[in-house]
Structure formats: C-alpha cells, structure tokens
C-alpha cells in the first residue's frame, strides 16, 4: 500500500518535502515511522517525539492505516 504523508515544521525542513509517498506492507504506525526514518535518517530525533494524525485526528499507536487515509506527522506543537 502506498500512502501520502504530510510533514510540518522541522520535519518538512529536514526532508525538504511537505508531502512524501511511502510504501507500507502492514500499514501500522511503527512501520510508517520506520519507513520515513530509513529514507530520511536525520528525522530520528523529531520523529521519536512526533504524533501521527489520521484523517485530521490524533491516531492511537495501534491504528492500522487504510488506502486513502489522510496522514500527517506532527512534531511537538508550539502554538500560543
């Protein structure tokens, strides 16, 4: 399964991409994190602290992704 993943703030700066396509076997979040990190090793520190949003809601780590899900990786937020 191929998924599109949106990236923000420092993750976007590190990768130089606002959106990346990743190919996953099982569609789990740990697999998603590993796939991004293996393509962009410099994301490790931020990725470890980041949350994942699926369809614009915070996703539990146990969620399994489906084709067409809107996925975003959210580094620790700093609004306000």
């Amino acid at each position: 399964m191929t998924v599109e993943v949106e990236l923000f703030a420092r993750l976007r700066d590190i990768t130089g991409q606002h959106c990346v396509e990743l190919t996953l076997q099982d569609g789990t979040l740990p697999e998603l994190r590993r796939a991004l990190q293996s393509r962009y090793p410099a994301t490790e520190m931020v990725l470890r602290k980041s949350a994942i949003a699926v369809n614009e809601s915070y996703a539990p780590e146990s969620i399994v992704l489906k084709p067409g899900d809107r996925i975003a990786i959210l580094p620790p937020v700093s609004g306000g």
């Binding site: 949003a53 937020v77 700093s78 609004g79």
Partner: protein, 139 residues
C-alpha cells in the same frame, strides 16, 4: 467561535463579542510575541498550522469547555504567519455568570491549545537564524 487568521487579532472586538446580560465575569487571555526565548533574543516568530486539523481541535476544545463550565459565550483565535514582537499570537475570551468559572474555563482553553492544536512557531533571531520550536526535542 474558533478561528485561525493571518490578519492582526483585535482583542477589543473579541471582548465586546462575548458581553452578555447574563454573564458578570469575562476573562480575556492574550498571548503576545516575547523578545526572549530561553535567554535568546527573538526578532520575529512565524506560525504555521495543519489548518484543517487545527480548526477541528480548536472546536473540540470549545465543545469540551462548554460541557465543563457554564459558558455564556467564548471565542478563541490563533494567528498564523510572521509576527513581530508584541503582536498578538493567540487570544481566548470567555464569559460566564461568575468570575471563578470564567478564569478556570479561559485557563483550560489556552492550556489545551498549547498542548494539542497542531500549530508550530519558528523563531527568527537577529543573526538571521531560524529554528522551529518543538518542546522536548533538542534543536
């Protein structure tokens, strides 16, 4: 009721918009851009959001606060884009029949915004450097 904007935030307008005859306590919190971040001088802050989700999270917070406190009216606005020192980055205003609820509810909203809403700031320093602020991640 909740809003993201690239335009300057008018705190006076927000205050007036929640005045109600049945509410005797109004608390307005205004967050402005400070000139120091952990002892380092800041020239400007640039805010970006995952806009669709940020609006949804703001609305969830607004729904929660109205379940927990007797809210007459509330507004929460976060600004995006590049802001100068002392510009308003965020404002929350809550009116309630009594002041204790208004203080607690306003505090809850701003604390939850800072915890959950996907908005990030990038700190621009006088030497031309820019770094994203991610609490808990070393830069």
């Amino acid at each position: 009721m909740v809003e993201l904007t690239y335009e300057p935030i008018d705190a006076g307008e927000l205050f007036k918009s929640v005045v109600r005859p049945d509410c005797g306590g109004i608390v307005l919190f205004v967050g402005t851009v400070r000139d120091l971040t952990h002892g380092q001088r800041t020239l400007a802050l640039e805010y970006e959001a995952y806009a669709g989700m940020a609006k949804k999270e703001l609305q969830l917070i607004a729904d929660e606060v109205q379940k927990r406190w007797p809210i007459g009216s509330m507004r929460a606005v976060h600004r995006l884009g590049k802001l100068a020192i002392s510009d308003i980055a965020v404002a929350v205003v809550v009116s309630c029949p009594h002041r204790a609820d208004a203080f607690d509810a306003c505090r809850f909203v701003i604390d939850e915004i800072k915890k959950r809403v996907p908005i990030w700031k990038c700190d621009h320093t006088p030497d031309g450097a820019a770094s994203w602020v991610h609490p808990g991640v070393t830069s």
